[in-house]
């Protein structure tokens, strides 16, 4: 029965116009970044590395498909949460708004199964979105710019050899799925709390903004607890591009994000199972 309900939920997601906003936005956004880098990339890269070029000797071009894919991945924190929340936030609230809880919950399927199927459908949607982003950003960028070494400047300068990159991207995308899965879980939890679809989206984005600001503060008690805020770990995919991968930090991020996801799901489940359907 679970698979039946899951297939229904996926069909419902892909029958709604709003579900294609995310795919549409990525389909537009990624080629725009690629086109901009294609025409202005060299100049931009020179400007960006101006200081470094005085100290180091650069040979060849670092502007390649991998670098473009890396730049696109950075948008995970900024754009994709909104696109994910748009669908995940509607999973339960949409039923309340439409009055269709009554249709769903008068069928011989337990509420546990329905909520679990909806949650899995939201996660599958998130996976689809990240997969589409990876295909477009990686596939198309490699076609347009070709492969090469990956040049990353953060706290230090890292140059990754061409044969050492692809697997890092694979794990980075997997981690991106975990990050956005957490955002989807939080939107899903808010979706169980309210009876309109806008609320969960606004609340999720508000939480991300507030936690991100709090994460940037170094004052007193915040310093001690901020590692527990999920926003601190959303960009941990970058750790896969360090020379030596810090497994312990990746595991911590995985635990924090996984924990947030699980708790959000359990809260949503509890609310819906106990809920009196009055709408």
């Amino acid at each position: 029965m679970f698979l039946s309900v899951l297939s229904i939920e996926l069909s419902k997601i892909f029958s709604k116009g709003r579900s294609y906003i995310g795919f549409g936005a990525i389909t537009i956004l990624v080629p725009i970044v690629q086109a901009a880098m294609y025409s202005e990339g060299e100049a931009y890269f020179s400007l960006f590395t101006q200081g470094l070029q005085q100290q180091f000797s650069f040979t060849g071009t670092f502007l390649n498909g991998y670098l473009i894919a890396f730049i696109v991945l950075q948008s995970l924190l900024v754009h994709v949460p909104l696109l994910v929340a748009l669908v995940a936030g509607d999973m339960l609230a949409g039923e309340a708004t439409g009055g269709t809880y009554r249709l769903l919950f008068t069928r011989p399927v337990s509420r546990h199964i329905i909520v679990l199927a909806k949650y899995c459908a939201a996660l599958l949607y998130t996976i689809g979105l990240i997969a589409w982003m990876s295909i477009l950003s990686m596939g198309l960028s490699l076609l347009l710019f070709g492969p090469g070494e990956l040049f990353i400047v953060s706290n230090s300068i890292t140059v990754l050899q061409q044969q050492d990159i692809l697997w890092r991207f694979f794990w980075a995308y997997c981690f991106g799925i975990l990050s956005m899965g957490t955002v989807a879980s939080i939107a899903f939890m808010f979706s169980a709390l309210v009876e309109n679809s806008i609320g969960p989206i606004a609340m999720t984005m508000a939480i991300i903004i507030v936690f991100t600001i709090v994460s940037a503060l170094d004052a007193g008690f915040i310093k001690d607890v901020k590692y527990m805020l999920f926003t601190n770990h959303l960009i941990s995919w970058r750790l896969f591009f360090e020379e030596t991968i810090p497994i312990d930090r990746i595991l911590l991020s995985t635990w924090v994000l996984g924990g947030h996801s699980l708790i959000s799901f359990l809260i949503a489940l509890y609310i819906i199972v106990k809920k009196d359907i009055l709408s």
């Binding site: 439409g98 269709t100 009554r102 249709l103 919950f105 008068t106 011989p108 399927v109 009196d276 359907i277």
Partner: protein, 304 residues
């Protein structure tokens, strides 16, 4: 011989905070009944129906359906129930056929297109099977609501205001459909309605609830034929007729008098006595009609 009880509600109570929506409600619906569930707005009808369908949980009391406790056999019971609860809401972005297919699937059936078309045909929506529900009028959604309640061939059908929003032709069609479901398929129907003459026309048993409790329960026929009726006599001399009836003290009260009609309150047994008395006193009677309606009964019961 008594028919098997399909629904048994005992001491059902639902509190929303301090507000008692349903209190100490008892009722029994038997197999093959068309059971009218009546009550004014806020009487607790929808809350009761929602508890029957496990949409809300009772504060106390017991609900048994098909002889099994709803609390412990929810899925098994819901598989055998088809229902409309209040407004007919659907997934507006799906077609009528897709909606029915999904809902059938949720009921544990692999619904064939033929069955879906059959259900849509039953409610006159076959030609709109592939239209998105967002293009449907309220009445069409109501018909689709009935189709989704029937799609998995349930034994018990719970209909909450099923003719809301339908035009007179639609009301008649749904009434006939309900009667057919009982006569041809021996379905049990639990019908909540505000359209009292409709309940009067199709229900065999009914309960009237007010403030969450049952006021009266029984056969529609017995309930309507007990107590006082409003009887209209069409006579040639209304003044003299009124005087005669007054002298005889057969009628409890006069409600009105026109040129040819005399309207009075009478018990059913007294109609024959009055008729004989007037005829014996050379009053020509053209017609007699009793106008005891469920509406009148309902109002008198709920007001009292």
């Amino acid at each position: 011989m008594d028919k098997a009880p399909i629904i048994e509600i005992k001491s059902l109570c639902k509190m929303f905070g301090q507000f008692r929506a349903v209190g100490n409600l008892d009722l029994t619906v038997h197999k093959g009944d068309i059971y009218g569930f009546l009550g004014p707005n806020g009487a607790g009808k929808s809350t009761t129906i929602r508890m029957l369908l496990s949409l809300i949980s009772p504060t106390s009391g017991e609900i048994s359906v098909f002889g099994k406790s709803l609390a412990t056999n929810r899925n098994e019971i819901l598989r055998r129930i088809g229902a409309i609860v209040e407004k007919p809401d659907f997934y507006l972005y799906l077609t009528a056929e897709q909606n029915l297919r999904f809902l059938g699937k949720l009921s544990g059936l692999d619904i064939q297109t033929k069955l879906i078309h059959q259900a849509l045909d039953q409610v006159g929506l076959l030609d709109r099977a592939n239209s998105k529900v967002k293009t449907f009028s309220y009445g069409m959604k109501q018909r689709l609501g009935i189709a989704q309640a029937l799609i998995h061939d349930p034994e018990l059908i719970i209909l909450d205001e099923p003719t809301n929003g339908l035009d007179p032709v639609g009301v008649k069609e749904i009434r006939e459909l309900i009667l057919r479901l009982k006569s041809d398929h021996n379905k049990t129907i639990f019908l909540s309605s505000h359209i009292l003459p409709e309940v009067e026309l199709i229900a065999n048993r009914m309960v009237i609830i007010n403030k969450g409790s049952a006021i009266i329960e029984g056969s529609v026929h017995d309930l309507l034929n007990s107590g006082m009726l409003t009887v209209s006599f069409s006579v040639d001399d209304t003044q003299r007729s009124q005087q005669l009836i007054h002298e005889s003290q057969l009628a409890q009260s006069f409600l009105g008098i026109t040129e040819h009609h005399l309207l009075m309150k009478l018990s059913k047994e007294r109609i024959a006595d009055c008729t004989s008395y007037l005829v014996e006193h050379d009053i020509a009677i053209d017609g007699i009609s009793s106008t005891r309606s469920l509406e009148e009964y309902f109002l008198s019961i709920t007001r009292s």
